[in-house]
Symmetry: C2
Subunit: 222 residues, 2 copies
DNA sequence: TGTACATCAGTGAACGCGCGTTCACTGATGTAC
DNA sequence: TGTACATCAGTGAACGCGCGTTCACTGATGTAC
């Protein structure tokens, strides 16, 4: 079936990008071949280079697309809740759910592609796409955090994000063992309940004065 | 140089395992070839199957070896400190340091190999090696946590581990950007200072009563 | 609106390459006497 | 202790395979008249 209409060709390009976002997250960049990606869009491998300059270039677009999907979902969740705290709780709850562990292809690329991105050279398209996408998600989370100023809310969002991403990553790597569910539960408990504070180290290597408590309330809605 | 002494052959096997632990962490399992591994031990690729049944089998041994190295380091850190809180602080501080971000080959396999392990089938040798190794590290950390009983200390260790692992993973994926250092700093602040408690969600999807504060002190030393 | 033809999206064979694994071979090691 | 020989750690060519990428080709699309 050579030569399809321009609208069909554009649709093919989007199908390839969409399938790539899912398959790259599931199997990693090197775990999916160009033939796999084209096959997922119902095409054969030869036409790939009519749409993308290289597999690396597609990886950058696919990662940007995947982060865009996640950001859209996060914004909808925040908007569906009556206040910031409830928005934040919904994001955490969805992120640390059992389906999130199982459905890697539907989940957040920040976790499933972190290792692939870290191993890529600084110039690879995938790296800047990852950084931009992650900054956007951190920004959405910071918008529903509690804190005296924007900097404190950003720090809170970054710490929350680290806990969520680590728990999900480790829950996936230990899937099938009890430890897997314990990661989800322990992280959710720490993020969603008023947690028992970690013990202030008596002789920590880098001791610091206790940070002032955040009591100011902000009013803006993300 | 065919046929070396048995002692030399055993030394070669250990060199291969050691090099694999480092290289697998740096580049991923699929990022290192059998020829690379043998070359790192000063050998040619053909002799590999005299030492290991397959690359997968070696991966299992290498992961176990890498976790063993990390566990030994953690135990020494704990033993070097006057009390549990200081031991915990030292573990967190080393885990979330700048060298830890840079030197992937020397760092903890729980972070660098999590995605590789998660993508492997449940029967792969690497999966059980990873699970056993991670349980050991969680156990060491639980031994220096504060909490009313062993279950609470385990939960605290698991939540701490998620935060540390997530922060390191994300710091590596964003290396070169300011966000990278922010992940280390925000996670360290949350784990090592008495943190400002996360806001109790007013209408969370899964609301729960606030957990009772842990005040009991334990005395045992890990 | 109808015809003639240039464009170009997609096909499938082919390229060079590196992979994990196998195997015939080599010659020092280790052992039996 | 010295000799004869079986063992086997390591070599390097070779295997079948899948990869990313290229390219001559096909024929419907899109356009110029």
């Amino acid at each position: 079936m050579p030569r399809v209409s321009r609208a069909e060709a554009e649709s093919h390009r989007q199908q390839i990008t969409e399938a790539s976002a899912r398959l790259f997250k599931e199997r990693g960049i090197n775990g999916v071949s160009v033939a796999d990606l084209m096959g997922a869009a119902g095409l054969t491998h030869g036409g790939f280079y009519g749409h993308f300059e290289s597999k690396d270039a597609l990886a950058g677009e696919a990662v940007a697309h995947a982060f865009g999907q996640s950001a859209e979902r996060w914004r909808k969740r925040v908007a569906s809740q009556p206040d910031d705290a409830a928005g934040r709780a919904l994001i955490v709850d969805k992120f640390l759910s059992a389906p999130s562990v199982k459905e890697v292809g539907l989940g957040c690329p920040s976790v499933s592609l972190a290792a692939d991105v870290a191993r890529e050279s600084a110039a690879a398209p995938i790296r800047s796409a990852y950084l931009d996408g992650l900054e956007a998600l951190v920004g959405i989370l910071a918008g529903v955090e509690d804190g005296p100023d924007a900097a404190a809310r950003r720090r809170a969002a970054i710490a929350d994000y680290a806990t969520m991403a680590g728990a999900l990553m480790l829950a996936r790597a230990t899937e099938g063992a009890p430890l897997s569910g314990e990661f989800l539960a322990a992280a959710r408990e720490r993020l969603l309940r008023a947690p028992a504070p970690a013990p202030a180290p008596a002789s920590a290597p880098a001791p610091v004065p206790a940070r002032e408590r955040a009591t100011a309330r902000k009013t803006r809605k993300a």
